[in-house]
């Protein structure tokens, strides 16, 4: 039963049908959540006693940096699925995520630089976290350029998944860079194991904004993966009936 479900979901056709059904639900709930979190965070949350109002960019910076790493982990999982079970859908999803990951990493870098001006006094610092996020951004660009340099998509899929899997050794380093080095960037305020070091009045909108932003990015991934599927499977009959 479960195996059948798994195999069905692995076919692009079932994926597209399912995704078309749940897409509006995810989109509208996450949009409402994010807008609600932004209003709460920007207008109602108290201002920081050190940073004043400038900390409010956290409601955009933290979700973006969180997702820039999570999207890479998602790609690594998809790459493992593709290499082990040869599920084509996983390869389409890797290709779909790569530009979005680059976009999100770029957003994290830009919002971090903007935040750096009032708090650190400089918009760029060769600090461990900043540098490693920049490396992550370059890794996404490398993946895109590797895939686009092959006209044979089946080869390109294998190469990109090998590279994604090997590149994932950098993820723990990016994640832990603020703990291992003494740097300007502050350590993570929210962890799974400890009590958050951030006040609840700021934490709840932050949590909601992370949820909403993730939902919006997932919607983007869904749209992008549909583009990939229609591109690669365009000559199949189900696509003609579906579109």
């Amino acid at each position: 039963m479960l195996k059948k479900l798994y195999h069905q979901f692995a076919s692009p056709k079932t994926y597209v049908v399912l995704v078309d059904k749940i897409y509006p639900i995810i989109f509208y709930t996450s949009l409402i959540t994010y807008v609600f979190a932004l209003i709460w965070g920007l207008a109602f949350a108290p201002s920081d006693y050190m940073q004043g109002n400038s900390y409010r960019i956290i409601y955009m910076h933290v979700p973006a940096s969180f997702l820039s790493e999570s999207l890479y982990i998602a790609m690594a999982i998809a790459a493992a699925i593709f290499l082990i079970w040869k599920v084509k859908l996983a390869a389409y999803i890797i290709k779909a995520i790569a530009p979005i990951g680059a976009l999100v990493a770029f957003l994290a870098l830009v919002s971090g630089s903007i935040w750096g001006i009032p708090t650190w006094g400089t918009w760029w610092q060769w600090d461990a976290r900043v540098t490693s996020t920049l490396i992550l951004f370059i890794m996404y660009l490398g993946l895109i350029s590797l895939h686009s340099s092959f006209t044979n998509y089946e080869k390109a899929d294998k190469f990109i998944s090998v590279l994604v899997l090997i590149g994932s050794v950098n993820i723990p380093i990016i994640k832990k860079s603020v703990d291992w080095w003494n740097t300007l960037h502050q350590p993570a305020s929210i962890t799974l194991t400890d009590k958050p070091s951030i006040d609840p009045s700021m934490l709840y909108p932050l949590f909601l904004s992370m949820l909403g932003f993730s939902g919006l990015i997932i919607c983007l991934v869904i749209l992008s993966s549909k583009v990939q599927i229609f591109n690669r499977e365009g000559n199949k009959t189900w696509v003609k009936y579906h579109v």
């Binding site: 190469f159 590279l163 380093i173």
Partner: protein
């Protein structure tokens, strides 16, 4: 195995530009960098090691440009794959030969430069082991990057390999930092050796998978 060793080393030794060229490039970088810094100042000592790591990285990058390209073009790889049904041993030995003919000479040269720059023989214990180990790691990873971008130019290979090397560069930086403060560096060297021992076995497997995909 010994046949393979002989063949591969013969192939590399005959291509003078492929092994002597990178060593000379390394020499040129090491000679030219004191010209850009004020001579005989303390600054030279401070930045010396970062120049050393980066120039060894660049040397390896240049030397591994076409590690698989010629064998791929003339059909050696395909021939070997059909004969032995596996590319693992060939790639393992190919990488080892590159380390033997390029990695070890640049480690010796780099150690010589570090001793002459610091004027202290004790820098031998920092530079030599770390350069030996790191050059082997660099060669492995650049071989991987160049196998991925086999006939698409080496710029792509360098672009996708460089981000993978940052952990090694961080470790090398830590070694120099600890040595400057007079701390123990053998633990970091052993960590790097451990990374190398994992990489030696895994990377040839991955490269042979990639090359097989290229040959399909």
């Amino acid at each position: 195995m010994t046949d393979l060793l002989k063949i591969e080393s013969f192939k590399l030794r005959k291509k003078l530009r492929a092994w002597l060229g990178p060593i000379l490039i390394f020499l040129l970088i090491m000679i030219s960098f004191p010209l850009t810094v004020e001579l005989a100042s303390d600054e030279l000592k401070n930045v010396f090691y970062s120049i050393l790591w980066l120039s060894s990285l660049l040397t390896v990058m240049v030397s591994l440009d076409s590690i698989f390209l010629e064998d791929f073009d003339d059909g050696t790889l395909e021939h070997y794959l059909i004969l032995n049904n596996s590319l693992f041993s060939m790639i393992l030995i190919k990488i080892f030969i590159y380390w033997l003919l390029i990695g070890i000479p640049i480690s010796i040269l780099g150690t010589f430069f570090s001793i002459s720059t610091s004027g202290d023989f004790s820098s031998f214990y920092i530079a030599f082991p770390s350069m030996l180990i790191s050059s082997y790691i660099f060669i492995n990873l650049f071989a991987l990057g160049n196998s991925l971008s086999l006939n698409k130019g080496s710029a792509l290979g360098a672009l996708i390999t460089m981000p993978l090397l940052f952990p090694v560069l961080i470790l090398l930086g830590k070694i120099v930092l600890n040595a400057n403060f007079g701390f123990e560096i053998s633990n970091l060297l052993l960590l790097m050796l451990g990374v190398l021992l994992i990489i030696i076995v895994i990377i040839p497997f991955i490269i042979s998978f990639v090359v097989k995909t290229h040959l399909e």
